[in-house]
Amino acid sequence: MRIVPLVKQVVDVDQVKADADGNIQTQGVPFKISNYDKNGVEAAVRIKEKNPGTEIVALATGPNIKEGVKEVLAMGCDKAFVINSSEFKGSDTLASSRVIAAAIQKMGGADLIIGGEGSLDAYTGFLGPRLSMRLGIPIVTYAVGLEVQGNLAKVRSNVGGILEDFEVPLPCIVTVSEEINQPRLPALIQILQAGKKPTQEWKLSDVGLSADAVGEAGAGVKILKNQAPKMERKRVRIKGTPEEAAEQLVQALRKEGVF
């Protein structure tokens, strides 16, 4: 069985800042592997532990992904294909799903594709569903449990207070929530070995895509601007000792007609 975790390197959203005009600036912000994707890698490694002979092939994208992918190799992926995301900058999920689908076909397909429920930066959750359509395979999203038994993925998903248990024939796609597991922290020896695991970098042309299929030319959604939220909110900062602050807050809530 071949499991392909999808791994996206994103800017560290905790470190993005707005400039004086309110525009969000990402230049110079460090990159990190999107946290839900690590839950996906962990889920893959746990399946491999129960199913010997499983091969885990990470498919990773990002601005500095050749370096970044080592983290998931250290977690237990066997090898990786990486695509530098500067090759498809400006893509929405319509365009980026073309890249990922083409890469999966190029590597000869997968029995189980595992993604995060969304990415830290854009958090649409659309990539998995779009891939499922492109590859013609079923999908279950927001998984909080995942096992493979024979030719079936057994998936538990929590839909706002309703638990749904699925049986899905392989090949399929599952996207996972952070509740599914606690991603392991690799030991030093695994980190050292990760650099020696096979990593192949692909260009867009390697997966058979031309530049106009991706980026702004291939996108269906354009981001016109990305700004710090402008407040219709009052943004009143209440100061003073806890007692003074409490008193002022009560006055404010009264004035607002809350009670």
């Binding site: 930066d121 649409t124 959750g125 049986e167 996108a219 710090a228 602050a245 807050l249 009670f259």
Partner: protein, 319 residues
Amino acid sequence: MGDVLVTAPDAEHGYELLAQAGPLAAQVGGKVVYAALGDQAAQAKEFATRGAHRVLTCSDPALTPYQTEPYTEAYLQLIEKVKPSIVLIGATIRSKDAAARVATKLEVGCGCEIMNLRLDGGRLTGERVYFSGRSLATERLLKDPQIATVPARLVDAPAPQGAGGSVEAVALKLTPPKAKIVKREKKESGSVHLEDADIIVSAGRGIKKKEDLKLAEDLAAALGGQVGCTRPIAADLKWLGDAHWIGLSGHEVKPKAYIGLGVSGQIQHVAGMRSSKIIVAINKDEEAPLVKISDYAVVDDLYKVVPALVQAVKKARGQ
């Protein structure tokens, strides 16, 4: 030119979308068409009297409960029939999957949880939360049909009015899904019903241990409100049940007042409470996103502020 096709997994959510679809349809010179699928087919008139010029119904049992694969087929066939220029789909964690799949089949974009929907330069445009709530992206749909998923509780549902539009049953060709639900279990919610609460006191990770939830409970009791919480409190630590969970995967709420105690304001949580009339943040981290989207913020230790607040509220309410 073209109609606005509207559908949502939840009827109330559907009414809210009808309110947003009306002005768009008027501008593009088309009609508002609502697709009442599954259980909603029986209440088609409710949609017809709340702004739908035309209601299409299909009560095929494959449409209940909501599953991604049959709904993908249903939406594609409805789009083929109506030929809309705009498609608005009520955003839930399942319907977003179907919307993205439909958009892929049609090779078009898909707006994710778009707020403040409008036509700008003749194209569907709106805002969405980005970078875990640190920014708002203004997005535009570039290709037809312009498909967007739209969150619940952004606007009030319109009241029924007049005789309403036409109702027509349609037959959809639905194949059994490959992803089969073998068990479906509703978790017990007890007496908690956050959607009905006027005041919600929400517990976040700034609350250090389970016993300290009493702070939130005391404040909620003094205010006559209910206790909500963030995803880690419900899903990871399991200090509170899913009935208290506010957010994209939990409950979407719109109370008169939302008071976050040690709530950082991650995107999944904000998605569930951003339409609250008044937002109060009590958090010692002034960089917390919730502080930045609040009406009133106390940047201090909640362990000191909340007991004082409970006393002040009790005094004010003569308790």
